[in-house]
Each structure stands twice: as C-alpha cells, then as structure tokens.
Symmetry: C2
Subunit: 198 residues, 2 copies
C-alpha cells in the first residue's frame, strides 16, 4: 500500500461529505433554498469549515457540479460591449470554453445530466442561477420574459454543445468557431432581445 | 417456466442477431456502405430472411435504432406547403412526435447516444441519412451548403429535445408547442434557406 504524503486541501473525506450533502441539497431544494448551514449539518461539520474549504455558496455549487469554469468570471466578458452583439459574444465565449481543455469536463457533465435525473436537476439549477440569471439581469427587457428567453438560449447552446462535442455531427463538429458565431449568434440575439409572440 | 404461445414475427433470436449485426455495420461502415448481404452474413442468415423480417435497408436501420417513428413518413408532411413555412412545420412536427407516446423512446435514444459512442455514431447516421438528407433534397439551395445547413438545424432541434424532454428546463419544458413553433421556427427557417457567411 502506498500513502500520499503531499499537501491536501483539507481532509478528503470531509470535503467529499460536504460535496455529497451539497449535491443533494441543491438538487432537492434548489440553489436559492439550499443553505450552507443545512449542508454543513448533513455533512456533520461546522458551517465555517464549508466556507473555509469552498468559499461562497456559488463556489460550493461549482465544486459540487464539477464545473470546469466559473460563470461568474465569464459572464462579465460576454456582457462587456454593445447589447446588439451579445448573441455573438455569448456563442463565441461558449465555444471558447468547450474548445479549451475544460471542454472534456463539459462533455462529462452533459453526459451525466442526460443519463441521471439527479444531475439533470443540478444542471437546471446551474443554468438558471449561475448562467442565465447573470446574463439576463443585464438585459433591458421585460423581467417576466426572462425565463423564456433564457431557456430558449439554453436550447440553442445546449444543442450546439450536444452536436459539436458529444454526437460530433459534421460539419458542425469541426467547423471554424467564427462560422458558428456568425450563424448561431443572431439566433441567440433574437431569443435574448427580439420580439416574443403576442 | 412459462412459454409464450402467441404469434411471433420470426424467431426472436434470429431477429436479435440480425439487429446486432445491423447496428455494428451501420455504426462501423455508415448507412450507405453497409449492405444487407454483409449484415446477413454476420448474423449467419440468408439475405432474403433479412428482407422478409425488416423490409428495406431503411426499415432495418429504423428497427436497429429502436426509432419510434419513420422519418420517411414524417418528412413529406413537413415538406408539403410553402417553402417559407418549412422551419415552423419542422418544429411543429418535431414537437408533435416528442409530445406523443413515441417521445419516451426518443428520450431513451438521446440518452443512449449521449452516453455511448456506438449509439452516437448510429445517431449521426440516422440524422444524416434518414432525416436531414430527406429534407434537404427538397430545398432550392446550393447542394454544397446542405451538410452545414442540416447540422445547424440539428443543433437547434437536438437542443430543444434535450432541454424540453431530458433536462426539463422551464419554461421551455412545459411551454405551449405553438409558442415554441413561433420562436424556434424562424431559426430553423434561417438555417435552411437564409444566407450563409461569405
């Protein structure tokens, strides 16, 4: 038997217990209703330890999801610039993440969400609270329309990820990113800022 | 032990051997290159028996995919009508199938394609040869553009299926189909008949 001697960021069993409790809480109660206090209680640790290991509730959620990126860092880049270019910037950023080494984790996450109802719930919460809410908060549209606009964007970007990286349907799978930005950007733009029916 | 006494459409073991051989052939060689003769040889049966059990190569492929619908029947309905309404008709037909009892098989198929490289290959062949090729053959656009147009449509419709039926992201998951037709139809229309970059 070998024993690891390197520095460990906290007790691995404790970390895993916290992440397990977090996944359950976020999937069962949703991101907004889940509390660090309750997650700590389930894991049998002090809430201060959860903060010490993971920082904020957002950061804990990203760790629980095995998210390869932090939407809190990416979204401001998408929002920087004129509003009528937000669709193209969102597609360009999306492809930049998935085409990077982080993309493999994205594929794993998508696979898991599709095969497992539990991960699907986490994915819903992740899309809604970590990605769409951050983008939509900045748009100058009727707030009542935001959930529909956000979930329409998710159909297009989720499908782009599915076909380009998982099913690998050609020629989308190996297309130049800027071609996809030019074709799919206007779709995302219309879903975000275009007119809705009635 | 109980024994089924009802009428069976051929020997179940033979049918399954043919379907196994078909799945391997379609995934390895592609739909166009796979031959009924080679599939029959792999399954150890006469090619006439394959035709007897399954009919055409298209029908054998649908059975091998466990496809709940026959695109050869659906696509003509989508194509019937003015060309500028093809996007809306395609979305409406897509939702009609997934909202029907056949939708459960569609979800199972999508789950399998996402988790399994073998099924992903079959899904690619299915989309390309059974769905997109049939639709695109009828369009009045440059034939060299057809693969890109078809795979762009697949990103939008695949993502619609993913978010509405698998991830169940609201409000898309329970939205009225005609709202989705109105919002997503123009996207599919632009991918099929709109201008492409450069």
């Amino acid at each position: 038997m070998t024993r690891r001697t390197g520095r460990r960021p906290g007790n691995p069993d404790t970390r895993e217990a916290i992440l397990d409790a977090a996944r359950t809480a976020f999937a069962e109660r949703g991101f907004d209703s889940a509390s660090i206090r309750a997650i700590a209680a389930t894991a049998g640790v002090d809430p201060a330890l959860v903060h010490h290991y993971f920082g904020s509730k957002d950061q804990l959620f990203l760790a629980a999801m095995n998210s390869p990126v932090d939407p809190g860092e990416l979204v401001p880049k998408v929002l920087a610039g004129p509003l009528d270019g937000i669709g193209e910037r969102l597609v360009r950023t999306f492809l930049g993440v998935w085409d990077s080494p982080a993309g493999a984790a994205g594929v794993a996450l998508l696979r898991s969400a599709v095969s497992n109802e539990w991960t699907a719930r986490l994915m819903r919460e992740f899309l809604t609270t970590q990605v769409l809410r951050r983008v939509l908060d900045q748009l100058d549209v009727d707030r009542a329309e935001l959930p529909l606009r956000g979930s329409l964007v998710a159909t297009q970007l989720g499908g782009l990820g599915l076909m380009r990286y998982v099913i690998r349907l050609e020629p989308v799978a190996s297309a130049d990113p800027e071609l996809l930005v030019a074709m799919i950007g206007p779709t995302v733009q219309r879903y975000l800022t275009g007119p809705l029916p009635e």
